[in-house]
Amino acid sequence: MKQETVTIKNRAGIHARPSALIVKTANEYDSEIFLELDDMRINAKSIMGIITLGANYKSIIQIIAEGTDEEAAVAALVKLFENRFEEE
């Protein structure tokens, strides 16, 4: 299991476009990937799940992956968060 903590850096938070981006990235990997915010834990391969997390600016999110390509999956998602989902 690979785990990494990220902070949301884009002002708008995770709305529809970033979540589509996350799902697209997550679906490229075979591992089970989850995002955790407070007590909520959702599947990173589901758009509605990610949107309903309601992750706003400066939220702290845990990315958790489990599977054969967990390292690469977490790295790719962290990069997405760090790049502010190519926004701003």
């Binding site: 007590d39 959702i42 599947n43 509605m48 799940g49 997390l53 309601g54």
Partner: protein, 328 residues
């Protein structure tokens, strides 16, 4: 349990009709962000009289007419030391029932200590009842899981399964056939008194939307009408969709009762293999009806088994006669 439930959250609770708390803040606005850690309620009569042993200060303090009258008497006779001592504790919040308004000195002391004072127009017993109901709901053990919750013929059916197995598509077909959507994708489960599971969506503000591959995000209440949605529903049946595995052994008779335990509540489980040519939503519909029938006391598979046994028994009896040809 949600973390950090504050007094402000308590006022903000969107409860309707016979659940409404009708709270408003009288003083101590700063204290509205104090976290309520205990789902119970304390009547501070003893505390006001100066008895502080076992004072449950972390609970919500509920002041009824009696407490209010006592407070007035304390204020008139200038004996506010018990009140001052009371507010040296970190009280989560105080609520006055019957629209009671405490004296200015009480409000001053509360304001200074940073404790919020709320008021409601309900009677004490009714307010206490509603508070306990609301708080036990909030403090109930909860868990968010991946799945779709639909109501089929009055039975709350939770459909789970891996990504892309067709949960949302099956649910959409069920909605199209007149059933109701409670939550798609992330379902929040709450264990109510450890007796049953209540399922709801994660976010009421975002409403009843579904994501269907190829269609994108669709709004169910607008597409299918308000009759096609529901806010919460008890989970009575769990259906696990899985891709058809020709090597796996599936239940062929249906007398083997399978259960899954979630938050210490046992839910009947059906493992449903999915493959082309199997209309999953109709299977789910029938499974729900069968579950209803079971609740009404008729267990199809077991009745059938009993009938087979009876029939075999009667055949045995018949054979007994027909084989005894030496009687005549």
């Amino acid at each position: 349990m949600i973390n950090k439930f504050t007094a402000l959250n308590l006022i903000d609770l969107d409860l309707k009709d016979h659940n409404a708390l009708n709270l408003r803040c009288l003083a101590g606005r700063k204290g509205l962000n104090r976290i309520i850690t205990d789902p119970e309620i304390n009547r501070p009569g003893l505390t006001l009289s100066g008895f502080f042993e076992e004072f449950a200060f972390h609970r919500i303090q509920l002041f009824g007419r009696g407490e209010l009258a006592y407070l007035r008497m304390l204020e008139e006779t200038n004996r506010m030391d018990a009140v001052e001592k009371m507010f040296t504790h970190k009280i989560s919040c105080c609520i006055f029932s019957h629209s009671g308004i405490p004296g200015d000195r009480f409000l001053d002391i509360a304001e200074k200590s940073g404790c919020s004072i709320l008021q409601s127009d309900l009677s004490s017993s009714e307010l206490e009842l509603r508070l306990i109901r609301a708080l036990s709901d909030i403090f109930a053990p909860r868990k968010t899981i991946h799945g779709v919750l639909v109501e089929v013929f009055g039975i709350g059916v939770l459909i789970t399964g891996g990504s892309g197995v067709g949960k949302s598509e099956s649910a959409l077909e069920l909605i199209e056939r007149g059933h109701r959507l409670i939550a798609d994708d992330s379902v929040v489960l709450r264990s109510v008194n450890g007796n049953f599971l209540m399922g709801s969506g994660t976010n009421e503000m975002l409403g009843h939307n579904m994501e269907i591959r190829g269609l994108g995000i669709i709004n169910i209440s607008h597409l299918f009408g308000v009759g096609s949605i529901r806010d919460k529903k008890q989970i009575q049946l769990l259906i696990e969709l899985e891709t058809w595995d020709s090597n796996a052994v599936y239940d062929r008779i249906g007398t083997g009762d399978a259960y899954k335990e979630m938050l210490d509540v046992k839910i009947p489980l059906i493992k449903m293999p999915v493959k082309a040519g199997r209309n999953v939503s109709i299977l789910i519909e029938v499974a729900a009806m069968n579950e209803r029938l079971k609740k009404l006391g008729y267990y199809s598979a077991q009745e059938f088994d009993n009938n087979v046994l009876k029939w075999l028994e009667s055949k045995n009896a018949r054979n007994l006669y027909s084989n005894n040809n030496d009687i005549f």
